[in-house]
Amino acid sequence: MIRTHRLAVGLAAALASLLASPLALADDPAGMVKVSKGQVSIERAGARLPAAVGTPVLVSDRLRTGRDGSVGVTLRDNTLLSAGPNSLIVIDKFVFDKTTQEGAMSVHIRRGTLAVASGRIAKKTPESVDFHTPTSVLGVRGTEFVVEVEGDGDE
């Protein structure tokens, strides 16, 4: 019994060390909240956190603004994202190698308004950057644009 337990712990430790490096990469923040006005929150792993200026933004975070809210986030590749009131924005994917400046990103606008100024990844590999709305996919060729999604999409 004890022996089996030890074996399991040993296996778990080996697995953890094997996984450690890719996990560490995935845990790097995608960006940081630089502007926050009114009601703004980040939904992460089932919890709702206040999104004050200086809060790190992680992959799969859901940024939500209330009726009077707006939020600005700078991603690590210098992409600028900012959302107006009643918005729900999800960071689906963000990978950036600061040495090679290669990476990939995918951001979903579920509802509301989003302004984008693209960053290093879009400059280096535009094909690895996309933005999603409920119906469409936006490909970006190094530029600035705005997106609006009206409706009650919440998922």
């Binding site: 308004t113 302004a115 705005v146 409706g151």
Partner: protein, 194 residues
Amino acid sequence: MNKALASLLLASLLAAGCVSERVVLLPSADGRPGAVVVRDAGGEVRLDRPYAATRRSLGGNDAYQSSPEEVSERFGAALAARPPRPVSYVLYFEAGGNVLTAASQAALVDIRRKIAEQAASEVRIIGHTDRVGSVEGNDALSLKRAESLRDLLVESGVAADKLEAVGRGERDPLVPTADEVDEPKNRRVEIVVR
């Protein structure tokens, strides 16, 4: 009859879920032409002029020309919350080592001020070398330059967790040269405050 038809149409629109979408290309800050391609099940629309736009109605994306007025009306709050644009500074080194030129030492004062003034600022310090020496040696030298700048900023009171040092060696010359050319403009550290 017309009224009945209109209400029927309205009812079917309501049943469809009322989602409407809009994408507008803005003029880029650096003046370079950019583009956005909007793709859906029915095809794609390419936006490549300032204020070129698509609007979604009845299941398709239709192109139209938007305007600064429409953008500020619909997107004013989102644009007002845009974070400050990242600012890049370049500092130069004396040949072969990691000693800053006099002009670059003076520029550090501006950089410290920018880091202190901007809310939640983050700083990436990217070292570069000229092409004198091996690629590996230059990788190490560029990182050493970036790290020495980082240490200098930490000593002057900048929080270490704001700073990240990166070495790009001779891969990204400001002035392209043949190998082994001593080019002062390539011996530099780029500091990007975001």
